[in-house]
């Protein structure tokens, strides 16, 4: 799980395309949530799912939309 988290972070860091970044960061948020659950922090995992899967990608998508206008 730790290795997957590290690898995911590396993939995110080298991603340049913003649309791809929005989708990947949502998936990475889920990976982080699983990691938090494994380490017995289910409450942190809950907020990570909400922020990582919805709030953060939404901000990126809105920024992309604004940039493209």
């Amino acid at each position: 799980m730790l290795v997957l988290t590290g690898a995911g972070a590396a993939v995110l860091a080298v991603t340049r395309d913003p649309v791809r970044l929005a989708i990947l960061s949502a998936i990475y948020g889920f990976v982080l949530a699983v990691l938090f659950t494994v380490f017995q922090a289910p409450d942190v995992a809950l907020s990570e799912i909400a922020v990582g899967a919805i709030a953060y990608p939404l901000v990126i998508v809105v920024a992309i939309a604004k940039e493209r206008e």
Binding site: F39, P42, D43, V44, L46, S47, I49, A50, V51, A53, I54, A55, L58, V59, V62, A65, K66, E69
Partner: protein, 247 residues
């Protein structure tokens, strides 16, 4: 600075930071070992003293309640800043909001997901002092339900669900609940944010338990959910204003 010098500087910095991180990680306690005396003390006393089976909630809203109020005020200040900056720069009336054309399937699935998110959020908030979760986590989940409404139903549905005055008020009330309970405690000669219902802590593990923690928990949920919704609204209004300006 030339490229070579910069690379050298980065190399030295990265090596140093890496070495420190490895050193720190090597000094961490092994996974699953109980080392903190404070943690085991709380695990033994929190349920008995506060009747809250989620010890984290007892720490956040009672033993360390003052820190939590500081965090609440940081959120409040940050949202104030965003609202002040963006509202000032924008024309007051955005006019008729324009919706993008979306597929019916996206709408149906998205609104279904929003309903689930809303229910999960309410559950997480209400059981904050019983099971893992609480006002902060539940508040974020609640706010994400509104974000899903925008993604699935468009800006018009989102605006109708989140009247800005109500969101502003919820944000303020959430923070005020904290301050009020703290100050009432002081006025009664108790400690700041001390439990105001000493005689009625209720049965641990039921919804009617934990005393003031249960109220503070709902206050935090209101504050956090309103803060996120307010941020979403400000960003989305920016987007709409720009679109209208270009037409």
């Amino acid at each position: 600075m030339r490229r070579r010098q910069r690379l050298l500087l980065f190399g030295a910095g990265a090596l140093g930071l890496g070495a420190l991180l490895v050193w720190a990680a090597a000094g961490l306690p092994d996974f699953g070992t109980q080392t903190s005396a404070y943690a085991s003390l709380l695990n033994h006393t929190a349920v008995e003293q506060r009747h809250a089976t989620n010890v984290v909630a007892a720490v956040v809203f009672d033993y360390r309640g003052f820190d939590t109020m500081g965090e609440e005020l940081i959120v409040l200040g940050a949202v104030f800043g965003v609202a002040l900056l963006l509202r000032e720069a924008r024309e007051e009336d955005v006019g008729r909001p324009r919706d993008d054309v979306r597929g019916e399937l996206v709408g149906a699935v998205g609104l279904g997901a929003a309903t689930v998110a809303l229910l999960v959020g309410l559950y997480v908030v209400m059981h904050g002092y019983i099971t893992p979760g609480g006002g902060f986590q539940g508040g974020v989940v609640l706010a994400s339900a509104f974000a899903l409404v925008y993604m699935a139903g468009g800006f018009r549905s989102y605006k109708r669900l989140t009247p800005i005055d109500a969101v502003d008020a919820a944000e303020g009330v959430g923070a005020a609940v904290f301050a009020a309970i703290g100050v009432i405690g002081l006025a009664l000669g108790l400690a700041f944010l001390a439990n105001l219902m000493p005689g009625s802590l209720g049965t641990a593990g039921t919804l009617a338990s934990s005393g003031s923690i249960s109220i503070l928990n709902v206050g935090a949920a209101l504050e956090v959910a309103a803060a996120f919704v307010l941020l979403f609204t400000e960003f989305l209004e920016e987007l709409q204003a720009e679109r209208l300006g270009l037409e």
